[in-house]
Symmetry: C2
Subunit: 338 residues, 2 copies
DNA sequence: GCCTGGCACTCTTCCCACGCGAGTGCCAGC
DNA sequence: GCTGGCACTCGCGTGGGAAGAGTGCCAGGC
């Protein structure tokens, strides 16, 4: 177990390194933080911390920098979440309140997060799995062609074209629309398949084929759209990444373009609070020199999607976590209102 | 006027520089292109080209690189558009045909363009201005709350919530829906305001307020959504930009995040064919060291949106122009089919 | 008049050696 | 267990020198 002072030394190293971006030495540490001990003592502590794997030196005779393990300890034990100041909170709220629709909410959230944290922001669209159906609309475009529009309680709209096996009258369509909505409106997506199973039986034999087609398209839409979308922003902040540029930044940009990777990344965070994944804790290789700070957000008590930021492992964790948490909270509020 | 051979020298310089990314000297030129003259002669030609501003030397005693003006001449006079090969065309078609909806078409197009050109791809969503209304749907969510869904002929769907000044019965709503659609279905967005102007008069006085509210929301949607959206991809390709990294790449990333900037950029290209804007020809400062190759695409004869790529001025213009043109053509086909 | 070979000149780039300074590890003493 | 001192290690920046690529110009030839 590390002594109290050694933990303080680690904390000081993390803070200084995050601030200066340069390896920090024993002398500088004692000057900037009054630890009440001499550089020599600090050197001993540093040697111990290095033995334990919390810090490392880039080369002999350079200062120390935190390792992933060091950051992990810092995040878990040494640092809290820095709350936003009142003016900051007001600014967040104001900025988000101007949104006109769901797309706009997401877009604004991305911009806001990127600006607040000066890092790359990632916001997942509210997921359909946990959503409920607000309304299903059916429109006849041609005798044997129907457009299906699905509207969710988070304001999301999906549409699909359905080619029917047989012509389908307006009356039947209205009937189907009414029955369908009375069954699924307000229900969870996951419950829909069960609820509509026997629906074709209520129709004339000649219409059953069409009804089945429409229903299976609806079910497909529910499933398919679980490939959730997301929006990213603030990639320009990657340029503040470090000195050894192209090599670091390229894999990150590539990872960011692979939505699948990002979705998996966000999905892995099960913690109800703010989750931090540091460096090699990220499964994806391209993100091994980045940390991901994420949190769920939702319109009610339940999280319907995640948002977060991607930045260098050398980041201001307390501040970033605070910003991410605050933004998630306010987005939730906005969603609940609309 | 430049002699034929000098133009050939310029062409050779552009080609070599694009290939090697290094200033090209007279000796190397004569070796790689059989111009039939000696290096000394080429040197004279180069001096002349430099006087005219087509090429420049980074330092005394280095080779020459093309200037923006040089690239411009190259694009206008010296190079054609390199058509895609048959296998490439097939690959494009196959890749785009798998798309399930409009979002997917745009997403696939972006990926495809980025991959083909190895540059940053930008695709504008089909614009609403030139689109026509396919259907307007009205859904009653609560006695005084209506959801308006607008469906366009390009498959785009927009929805808005409307808070009505007074409760609005299902019958009135159905009436409004029917009247509205009979007037605007199949019509251009720009014509809609005129077509619905007198619609409230057909309703009972107590409903007129609500009808007006719904109509004005519809009109707002038509206008607002002209703030067209776009999708970008392939930003990882920016890392192949050059050596003097952070300084070059940062403003480009910033510009790419400003959708307004990009939309303006695409909007400026009036040419019906492929448009190339080179370096300082781009109004936005951050893009002064990039070239933008863009073209309109559309489902019919008419262009409904633009797509293009952003890359270093030192790019393979014929190949890029060919790829952009081909992709635009196939996207147009896909849109027309759906 | 235009092309050519030759030549001197200019710069950049690479390499290496050197010295400085930051930072370390260790040790003896308190 | 903390402290001051001391020798040691490296990385980094500097400066000089050599190499190489490329140029501009000039005089001669077709």
């Amino acid at each position: 177990m590390l002594s109290e002072r050694r933990l303080q030394v680690l904390r000081a190293i993390v803070q200084d390194y995050v601030g200066t971006e340069e390896p920090v030495g024993s002398k500088a540490l004692t000057e900037r933080h009054n630890l009440g001990v001499s550089p020599a003592t600090v050197r001993n502590d540093m040697a111990a911390l290095e033995d334990e794997g919390y810090i490392a030196q880039p080369h002999t005779s350079a200062g120390r920098i935190p390792t992933d393990k060091g950051y992990r300890l810092f995040v878990d034990k040494l640092a809290g979440v820095k709350p936003m100041t009142a003016p900051e909170r007001r600014a967040i709220q104001n900025f988000l309140e101007g949104a006109v629709d769901l797309d706009d909410v997401v877009a604004r959230t991305v911009r806001l997060l990127a600006q607040l944290t000066r890092q790359v922001a990632v916001v997942q669209y509210p997921s359909l799995t946990r959503s409920t159906v607000r309304h299903v609309e059916l429109l006849s475009l041609a005798p044997a062609r129907v457009m299906l529009v699905l509207i969710t309680d988070t304001g999301r709209v999906e549409q699909r074209m359905v080619d029917c096996p047989a012509p389908f009258g307006e009356a039947s369509l209205a009937d189907l629309r009414a029955r369908l909505n009375s069954r699924v409106a307000g229900r969870r997506f996951t419950d829909v398949p069960m609820l509509v199973e026997d629906l074709p039986d209520a129709f004339e034999p000649e219409d059953r084929g069409t009804v089945s087609t429409v229903l299976s398209t609806l079910l497909e839409t529910l499933v398919e759209e679980n490939e959730e979308r997301l929006m990213i922003g603030g990639t320009a902040n990657l340029t503040r990444f470090g000195h050894d540029f192209p090599l670091t930044i390229r894999p990150v940009l590539e990872a960011l373009e692979e939505q699948v990777v990002l979705l998996k990344l966000l999905g892995e965070a099960k913690d109800p609070g703010v989750t931090v994944r540091i460096g090699h804790e990220n499964a994806h290789e391209g993100l091994n020199s980045t940390s991901v700070v994420s949190v769920g957000y939702g319109s009610g008590g339940e999280a319907v999607a995640k948002l977060g930021v991607v930045g260098p492992t050398r980041m201001d964790y307390p501040g970033t976590m605070g910003a991410v948490r605050a933004v998630a909270r306010y987005v939730g509020q906005i969603l609940a209102e609309s």
